[in-house]
């Protein structure tokens, strides 16, 4: 769309927040400034836009990097891609084929120059045509195998736009009548044969690769040879191949071999590989190729095929630039599901762990198997004490329960067996029973069971409070224990615990079963 001067002024005024007249005035000032700069042989730069300079009579504009970047933002990130497969010296299919729009400013391009440049592409066109024919041949072979046993079509096919399609690729010297002859190809009428001056086409596409015994074929082959072959001897080689005429050279089960195609590409001892393909360059062959081309569709299909030759060659070898992009996309696709799976697994593990912790914390599940660890932790939490405390006279069975040692100094004193209990035991505390160890949560305290574990409820620094709790537990029928524990931090602590259990697991089980009795936090520790 053309934005003329008036529209431009309107846009400028709108963007600048000015009136149209004001914008027009400012623009004229800008132009006058430019003229002043040009008169002094200076360039005029518009920051972020470009530089205007005057050379001779014309004003040139050089866009700035920022402007170029913004204009080409769609192609940002694209970089030149090296095409492998082209050895040094080989020419690419197309060089610098930029589109030309009809109303381009650079209208100095001379069509004659372009036409003159066309012959220079002869070698390129030959290579393209060679590869194209080879591809067609391969596709024909595949189709023939698939259609094996099918009826032959006797209907003549109209020539496609063969000449127009490959006009650019074919040498200008290639005469028009030869093109017509190749295009007519399958015209089996007598007039058509006379005009074509070549072997009448058959329905067997592979017959074109065979040099026939007729003179017409030889002539046609020779004509084509002049145009496409590099060595004049190649045509002779082709013609020397045995011909099978119009009949199919092979059974439907067996594809024609290279020997029958009149090419020597399969022979490794050929020094000149280019000559091996000259057998392909006969008029009958081109007509057959055209037939195949007709099957392909419209004229537009040829161009992509030609282009794809280079792409195919590029795909045969690793193309780092092009393959990286789909590989990267594939990797991204591969990574995303893997990452999502891993994230889901982590989430599930976290939820499971949190639920387990909540259940254990609120005693919803039995943790008896883990009580040993808890007991060991509880023991470490116990203030120093038990080791410094009297090797208490926890002699089984005979000694009285030295639950509480009144004198502070006596902490280190072991109570000897037989000593009367000096501790001010509460009246409610039953005397430790002698005899075999009797474990349990209730009942009388059994001195023999003091080698086991107990459920610790309180660690109190106030002796009176500890005794009060001790009495309360005893009144409730529990086997309460009150023990003085020296502490470096608190001085002396009074441990109030209940029960005597053989193992920490038993203590934990008992604690779990008696949640109504044990409120709040508790710990399990060895009694001594």
């Amino acid at each position: 769309m053309l934005i003329d001067h008036e529209k431009f002024i309107a846009l400028l005024a709108d963007n600048a927040g000015l009136s149209v007249e004001e914008a027009e005035k400012r623009l004229s000032e800008l132009l006058s400034e430019m003229a002043d700069a040009f008169s002094e042989d200076n360039a005029y730069e518009v920051e972020g836009f470009g530089i205007f300079s005057k050379l001779g009579q014309a004003v040139h504009f050089m866009p700035s990097k920022e402007l170029e970047t913004e204009i080409n933002y769609k192609y940002a990130g694209m970089s030149p891609i090296e095409l492998p497969g082209f050895e040094q010296g080989e020419k690419p299919l197309r060089e610098a084929e930029a589109e030309e729009e009809p109303d381009s400013f650079d209208s100095e391009s001379d069509p004659d120059e372009e036409a003159a440049a066309a012959p220079a592409e002869e070698d390129t066109a030959d290579d393209v045509f060679t590869e194209f024919l080879q591809m067609q041949k391969e596709e024909d072979a595949e189709e023939e195998e698939e259609q094996a046993g099918g009826t032959e079509s006797d209907t003549p096919q109209e020539p496609s736009g063969f000449d127009e399609t490959f006009a650019g690729l074919i040498d200008d010297d290639f005469e028009q009548d030869e093109i017509d002859a190749a295009g007519r190809g399958h015209d089996l009428t007598d007039s058509g044969r006379e005009e074509a001056e070549e072997t009448p086409m058959t329905d067997d596409p592979f017959s074109i690769f065979e040099s026939s015994g007729t003179e017409d074929e030889k002539t046609a082959g020779a004509d084509a040879e002049e145009v496409f072959s590099d060595s004049p001897e190649a045509g002779a080689e082709e013609n020397s191949q045995p011909a099978e005429g119009d009949e199919r050279p092979h059974s439907s089960d067996e594809p024609p071999g290279p020997e029958e195609w009149g090419i020597d590409a399969h022979k490794e001892d050929e020094e000149d590989n280019e000559a091996a393909f000259t057998g392909l360059f006969s008029d009958s062959e081109t007509a057959g190729t055209e037939k195949q081309a007709e099957k392909k569709g419209t004229e537009d299909d040829f161009i992509p095929v030609v282009q794809n030759v280079s792409a195919k060659a590029a795909r045969q070898t690793d193309t780092p630039g092009k393959e990286e992009k789909p590989k990267k996309a594939a990797k991204k696709d591969e990574v995303n599901p893997v990452v999502s799976v891993i994230l889901y697994m982590i989430l599930i593990i976290l939820i499971t762990g949190i639920m387990g912790y909540v259940l254990v914390h609120f005693n919803m599940i039995d943790i008896s198997r883990f009580t040993k660890s808890e007991a060991s932790v509880a023991q470490t939490v116990q203030p120093q004490a038990p080791q410094t405390v009297a090797e208490q006279s926890q002699q089984p069975a005979e000694t009285p329960e030295p639950v509480l040692d009144e004198t502070a100094g006596s902490n280190a004193e072991p109570q000897t067996p037989g000593e009367p209990a000096d501790e001010p035991e509460s009246a409610a505390q039953p005397e430790p029973a002698a005899g075999p160890a009797d474990f349990g949560l209730t009942g009388a305290v059994n001195a023999a069971a003091n080698q086991g574990y107990t459920i610790v409820l309180f660690h109190l620094s106030n002796k009176n409070s500890a005794e009060r709790e001790f009495e309360t537990l005893n009144n409730n029928g529990l086997r309460a224990l009150l023990k003085e524990i020296p502490s470096a931090k608190y001085g002396v602590l009074y441990r109030v615990s209940i029960g005597q259990f053989r193992t920490a697991a038993d203590a934990a089980i008992a604690a779990g079963e008696n949640k109504n009795l044990i409120t709040g936090e508790y710990s399990i520790t060895k009694i001594n």
């Binding site: 934005i3 431009f8 400012r26 690419p92």
Partner: protein
């Protein structure tokens, strides 16, 4: 001529060029973008590269200064 006006001047033309429009500034010239399709090119060392497409800015002077 203020810098701000110059900036707006450049932005106005740039926006139209991005939209593939041709901008005519009377007394200065006509700005236009021309698309160059991707193409192959042989470097001096024989390597063949595929150059990406690009849009080039073309300017046709109508300067009356």
């Amino acid at each position: 001529m203020t810098k701000e006006f110059l900036k707006i001047f450049g932005i106005t033309i740039r926006d139209q060029l991005i939209m593939k429009n041709t901008v005519e500034v009377k007394g200065l010239g006509t700005f236009k973008t021309e698309h160059t399709a991707q193409y192959q090119k042989t470097l001096a060392d024989g390597r063949v590269v595929m150059l990406p497409p690009s849009d080039d800015i073309q300017f046709k002077s109508q300067f009356e200064g």
